[in-house]
């Protein structure tokens, strides 16, 4: 389509178009922009050559109307005079090319058309890809939401029968239905313990899913690290003593209370201590503790140190990644879903802190993490969360 109000120019452009080699073209000339726009809406066009000045209207105005009409074909601007500023401005506006009429020839017009079509094809390609990406992102978001809902339903459905199992085992263990002998007690204790393992795994599965979808947030309150570590000591007491691993706790005297989600930090500590006990041989020891960070007095560092088997250096970089198991045999030997350390890292990050590990093979590992004493710096926390 060619839109130009000067009949001579229409003829010259038409003639040049006809003489472009290897270009099959059907030209539709219009001296009135509105007639051209009506035709565009009716049948469309593959390419538009537009005059800069058409009666009372300018090429850029008509160009906007063309785009508003939903036509995205390449548009080449032709003008009476050559002007570098105008050329740059027209390209910025979205014209595919710009040709002053004094240099208009089959050659220059052919080059402009060829460039314009190539540019248009590339732009369309980019736009198609962008649309495809946007759709993929939307699909993924919806899928993530579905998966998260599925995990929630799954955990609900698994917890209900697990509760019944655990309760009936407890009822018999507690002697509510008569005396039981030592062997029966031993067997029921194994069943009860395994219900506990299953509960941990179900909760891990749900936490991992909620962390990924951002549905898990920290419920902050002032907590004493001495009390928190005391609870962690209490929680691991039975497992550690059964295995013959000693656990000691060291909390610095001058430690202030910290604004944290106590339940979630305890979950991190329990998980790290559970691993430490799991990978330490009988006779070994685990030390847990808390102190003010050496590098930053506004942060508290907590640690769990063991004298266990240690971690291979090449595995240290991946240990906090999801579904990681410290060695291939571990999932078989020690069970677990490989979510625990990943959940620990995410929960620490939720507080605006970070978790680290130092380890040497055969000499044990030290997991340490830091949390800010106060959570007033929400911006930092949110930024970390977003990252």
């Amino acid at each position: 389509m060619v839109i130009d109000d000067d009949p001579d120019d229409l003829f010259i452009i038409g003639d040049a178009l006809k003489r472009i080699p290897n270009l099959k073209i059907e030209m539709k000339p219009f001296s009135e922009p509105d007639a051209g726009l009506a035709e565009l809406e009716e049948t469309g066009a593959d390419l538009i050559v537009l005059d800069f000045s058409i009666g009372a209207r300018t090429g850029p105005e008509v160009f906007r109307d063309i785009r508003d009409a939903g036509c995205d074909a390449p548009v080449i601007l032709v003008t009476d005079k050559g002007d570098e500023t105008l050329a740059a401005a027209s390209i910025r506006m979205g014209f595919s090319d710009y040709i002053p009429k004094q240099v208009l020839s089959p050659d220059s017009l052919g080059r402009a058309i060829s460039n314009a079509r190539e540019k248009w094809a590339l732009r369309k390609d980019v736009s198609d890809h962008q649309q495809m990406l946007e759709k993929t992102v939307a699909d993924l978001k919806s899928r993530t939401h579905e998966i998260s809902e599925f995990y929630h339903t799954l955990s609900h459905e698994l917890k209900t029968p697990l509760t019944a199992c655990r309760e009936f085992i407890s009822i018999v263990l507690d002697g509510l239905q008569g005396e039981i002998n030592a062997d029966q007690r031993g067997s029921l204790e194994v069943a009860h313990r395994n219900c506990g393992r299953m509960r941990v795994m179900i909760n891990d599965l749900l936490d991992a899913s909620r962390l990924e979808t951002g549905k898990l947030s920290a419920q902050l309150s002032k907590e004493s690290m001495t009390i928190l570590l005391g609870r962690a000591m209490q929680n691991c007491k039975s497992t550690a003593s059964k295995k013959g691993v000693s656990v000691e706790c060291r909390v610095a005297d001058d430690l202030p209370e910290a604004t944290v989600d106590g339940q979630r930090l305890l979950q991190v500590l329990d998980n790290l201590i559970d691993n430490a006990v799991k990978f330490t041989e009988p006779g070994g020891s685990v030390q847990i503790g808390a102190k003010i960070c050496a590098a930053d007095a506004e942060r508290i560092e907590l640690w769990v140190k063991d004298t266990g088997r240690g971690i291979e250096p090449d595995r240290l970089d991946y240990i906090f990644e999801r579904l990681y198991q410290s060695s291939e045999g571990d999932s078989v030997l020690h069970g677990g879903l490989g979510l625990g350390l990943n959940i620990c890292r995410e929960l620490v990050r939720l507080h605006g802190g970070d978790i680290r590990v130092e380890s040497s093979l055969g000499a044990g590992s030290t997991f340490s993490f830091d949390v800010p004493v106060s959570q007033s710096d929400h911006a930092t926390r949110e930024a970390r969360l977003a990252s």
């Binding site: 609900h156 917890k159 697990l162 019944a164 309760e167 009822i171 507690d174 509510l176």
Partner: protein, 120 residues
Amino acid sequence: MKKVLVVEDDVDINKALTIRLRAAGYEVFSAQDGLLGTCAARREHPDVMVLDISMPAGDGFSIVERVRSIPEMAHTPFIFITASKKRELKERALELGAVAFFEKPYESEELLTAIEKAAA
């Protein structure tokens, strides 16, 4: 003897709670959905209610809302137990005035302590 109403739609958990509470010396009434739970509460005027949240024919919250209008039950303490981890459920339970909230699988001892405290 203090009366406890257990409303839980899972038959097995309902039975386990009933056994445990009877052994602890309570008179136990139980129901398996929101509607029957509300009827049982109106009829028995329990000292404590132990309520599941998600149930057919009215959830645990609706039982509390319905029985509160009965003068004798305006201050009856209630405890929720749920398999859901949704925080909004816990928030709503506490807003309604629940004396305790337990996630399944719960620790029986902790639940018994909460019931004992509520019934005192």
